[in-house]
């Protein structure tokens, strides 16, 4: 289940008999390259590779494991630890879900994917359209949700997102209410202030940070800013149907302490999968 770039690397070890420090260093370099090309944070890559090197040199492989298997096991363990021991996502029976993230990350699309996910499982779901900045934001939500008969509460003429949230909560009585918000980044102070006010008014049970898997080294810093502002409880990684391997997710999890819950794998409303850590790690290792 390891991609070919790393399998080739590890073939070097299995052919070597004794553990050779120079060989381990060479293998570590290859692991670093694989992680960096997957957009894992540079400092995190250094931290991970240092740990793997220490363990590879001082640990004895478990009975029956060759050197190669041992290093793979260490690598998997270190990456799994980073993703956190998130127990499986259990379906809420009542929940207010807030969707936040950078511009263009896939919040609106994912909002409707999630709404469909819940309603297919018997949970009545509705959406509040609180993006008051993006032209035709309400139309986009409406067109995406309409085929599934999911109700959208929105006020396209109203520029006050807090009001929309307030009236939306009065109007909607479904088990799940998902709130879509405008894209924003950590340098846009006014927008971050708005997000805090929306959070206060909505009182969500779940706050999902929606991240584009194409993001590079900024993933950690941006996730940290969102977390410090409103507290993130879950991460959703989108556009994994492209070539991006999504290493930024490791930083997002590290900075928010929140698990990855879902991934987006396409533009259609069925293109949402529950997060699978093993498959994700294989993808990162390319």
């Amino acid at each position: 289940k390891l991609g070919d770039s790393l399998s080739g690397v590890l073939r070097k070890i299995s052919r070597a008999g004794l553990i050779d420090e120079r060989l381990v260093k060479e293998v570590i370099k290859d692991i670093q390259r694989a992680l960096l090309s997957a957009d894992v944070n540079v400092k995190l890559v250094m931290k991970i590779s240092k740990k793997i090197q220490e363990r590879a040199l001082k640990e004895k492989p478990k009975a029956g494991l060759g050197r190669k298997e041992h290093i793979i096991t260490i690598l998997y363990e270190e990456l799994s630890n980073l993703l956190g021991s998130s127990k499986n996502y259990s379906l809420p029976n009542k929940s207010r879900i807030l969707m936040v993230g950078l511009q263009g990350s896939g919040k609106t699309t994912t909002t409707v994917k999630l709404a469909r996910y819940f309603s297919k499982r018997g949970l009545s779901t509705s959406i509040i359209a609180a993006d008051t900045y993006r032209p035709a934001a309400y139309e986009q939500l409406f067109q995406l949700a309409e085929p599934f008969k999911i109700r959208i509460y929105g006020e396209p003429e109203n520029k006050n997102a807090i009001e929309i949230v307030k009236y939306g909560l009065q109007e909607l009585n479904t088990s799940i209410v998902i709130l879509d918000t405008a894209g924003r980044h950590r340098k846009e102070e006014e927008l971050f202030k708005e997000m805090r006010e929306i959070n206060k008014k909505f009182k969500p049970d779940e706050k999902f940070l929606v991240i584009d898997s194409n993001i590079g080294q900024q993933a950690g810093a941006q996730a940290k800013a969102f977390h410090e502002s409103i507290g993130i409880t879950g991460v959703i990684l989108t556009k994994l149907d492209g070539s991006a391997r999504g290493g930024g997710a490791l930083s997002a999890v590290a900075e928010t302490g929140a698990p990855v819950r879902f991934i987006g794998v396409g533009e259609k409303m069925g293109d949402l999968e529950v997060f699978n850590p093993e498959r994700f790690i294989s993808r990162i290792l390319g």
């Binding site: 950078l102 511009q103 986009q140 194409n214 993001i215 590079g216 900024q218 492209g242 290493g247």
Partner: protein, 279 residues
Amino acid sequence: VILDEKKLDEILDDFEISLLESDVAISVVDKIIGDIKSELYSKKIRKSELDSTIKNALRKSLQDVIKNPEKSFEEMMEEKTEKPFVIAFVGINGTGKTTTIAKIAKRLKDRGYSCVISASDTFRAGAVEQLETHSKKLGVKLIKHSKGADPAAVAFDAIKHARAKGIDTVLIDTAGRMETNTNLMDEMKKIIRVAKPDLILFVGDALTGNSALEQAEKFNSAVGIGGVILTKADADVKGGAALSIAEATGRQIFFLGTGQEYDDLEAFDAGKFIEEILG
């Protein structure tokens, strides 16, 4: 004084890390650092000048990749005598193509050029409505067909309209598409075959990491990129993706998107960019 190779490697390792942290793709970093190593390894350099020598070598190798475009936008338009000048905007999902078209339309209008926008994203929910809002605000004509229509047909229509009315430019908005989706890459090829644009601009997100390289390569081999616009440069990024894209395509960055308003479009300054990457 012969160069102390160990010291050189140490300093280059630091530069390597800073390039990676600036989102330059790893294979591009390898090439840059590799070129500098082979140039400097056998040189005579005074110990006190090691740092500045390496920095200058690094600056020079960056200058080989990233330059200001040979001609400005408007110069390219002036060179073509027959109207309209057709520009297509392509890229993966959510990078800011539609918003950038609105910014370009405003810029052209401010400089006395007339333009028509082609709503050739006939797929995404709310895409045409998003453009309609912009075109109304800017007082620019929008050519659109019904949802699900053939994107190439909309472009053809827009160009026909521009030709008939003597309009200077046609801006073609296309749907975002993943470089891995062959059907959508083929659809884009068809739009380009029909519209025969004078300029194809790749719109990339400045926050992109290593996948910028693969995206630029695939888009370039599919339709040939003429230039690049890098958006969301206001998000506190070093924007190393610019280097990856320039290296992959040999094309240059025309503009940076620096916000969500119509005026948030800056001409790219290669020198300034290089100094910021060099830190």
